[in-house]
């Protein structure tokens, strides 16, 4: 592995999170397609998303989405703003900071029901 700096790691993370988001999209197409087979099948399948393991995977999805979105803005700025390249490293740290900042509250909202706490609406599924 080449010992690159923030630019290389942001590129690698952008690729990995992009693939992760794509993978979720495929799963999501399958789960919404199930409604075509009737409400019972759909409801039975969708319960999986309330299990603890899938909630942890959902957290990975949210982290991926947040990083990919903000790093995408960083890349756009590098491409279209002539001074952008000068701030690429600073922008990388801003992307990481904003990602982590927005990620923390979602951890609470998604994981709380596993521990029996129900923030507004997050225990909507009576199956739990």
């Amino acid at each position: 592995m080449y010992r690159g700096q923030s630019g290389q790691w942001s590129w690698l993370l952008h690729r990995i999170t992009g693939l992760g988001v794509l993978l979720f999209l495929l799963v999501h197409i399958v789960d919404i397609t199930l409604i075509g087979f009737g409400p019972t099948i759909y409801n039975d399948a969708i319960v999986i998303f309330s299990t603890a393991i899938i909630r942890v995977i959902s957290l990975a999805l949210i982290a991926s989405l947040l990083f990919h979105a903000f790093n995408g803005i960083r890349i756009i700025l590098i491409d279209f703003w002539p001074a952008g390249y000068k701030y690429q490293q600073a922008m990388f740290y801003i992307v990481l900071a904003v990602t982590i900042l927005l990620f923390i509250p979602t951890v609470f909202y998604i994981m709380a029901p596993v521990f029996g706490v129900c923030p507004q609406g997050s225990c909507a599924n009576p199956a739990l």
């Binding site: 592995m1 080449y2 010992r3 690159g4 700096q5 923030s6 630019g7 290389q8 590129w11 890349i75 590098i78 491409d79 279209f80 002539p82 952008g84 390249y85 690429q88």
Partner: protein, 239 residues
Amino acid sequence: MAGDSSKRRVQIKVKRFQPDQNAEPYWQTFSLDVEGTDRLLDALNQIKWTQDGSLTYRRSCAHGVCGSDAMRVNGRNRLACKLLMADLGARISVEPMLGFPVVRDLVVDMDPFFNKYEKVKPYLINDEPAPHTERRQSPEERARYDETTKCILCGACTGSCPSVWANAEWVGPASIVNAHRFIFDSRDRGAAERLNILSDRNGVWRCRTIFNCSEACPRGIHVTEAIEEVKRAIMYGGE
């Protein structure tokens, strides 16, 4: 001896490959005494001259101008002649650059690199009748492409680029830097031709702004900036 007090012992781990003897590359560690003011190239010379004459690497000017001795030092592309041993620690790893076919030990095949370099027409194109004296240029016009005149074609940027590792057909950062040098030269008339070559699928667009090239350049060229300027020249037109 008094002079020996400034010396210290270092371990240099070299990734070696002798195609007539080895099927696969292997690591060999050399121990030697160096001074802080020695450069890595001096240390390699010491190994070659006193320990193992078969160690193979390129060197010419030894002053950071010819661009012969680009190699991967402690994981990053560097010129061996521009690295002081004082800055390198006691254990140093030296490998040939990634993205180039290895010919022998630290020597890589630069032919594909120079073929891609020639692809962007890195020379003045101007069919207008030559003036009686020189082709005049203002200091501002000269400054426009000053950055990219510094390239010594060592290949450190190209060997550090993941897009190059993934696709040997891509022109790579060094070629774009040398295209930039003429695209933004007010005396040159070949910009449209070069921008056309670089808007190809193996042109500038394979740059993913990873910045390894800018960090690796021993001449301090902002390589990614140059590539971005060429991208914008293709998008918006103009030189």
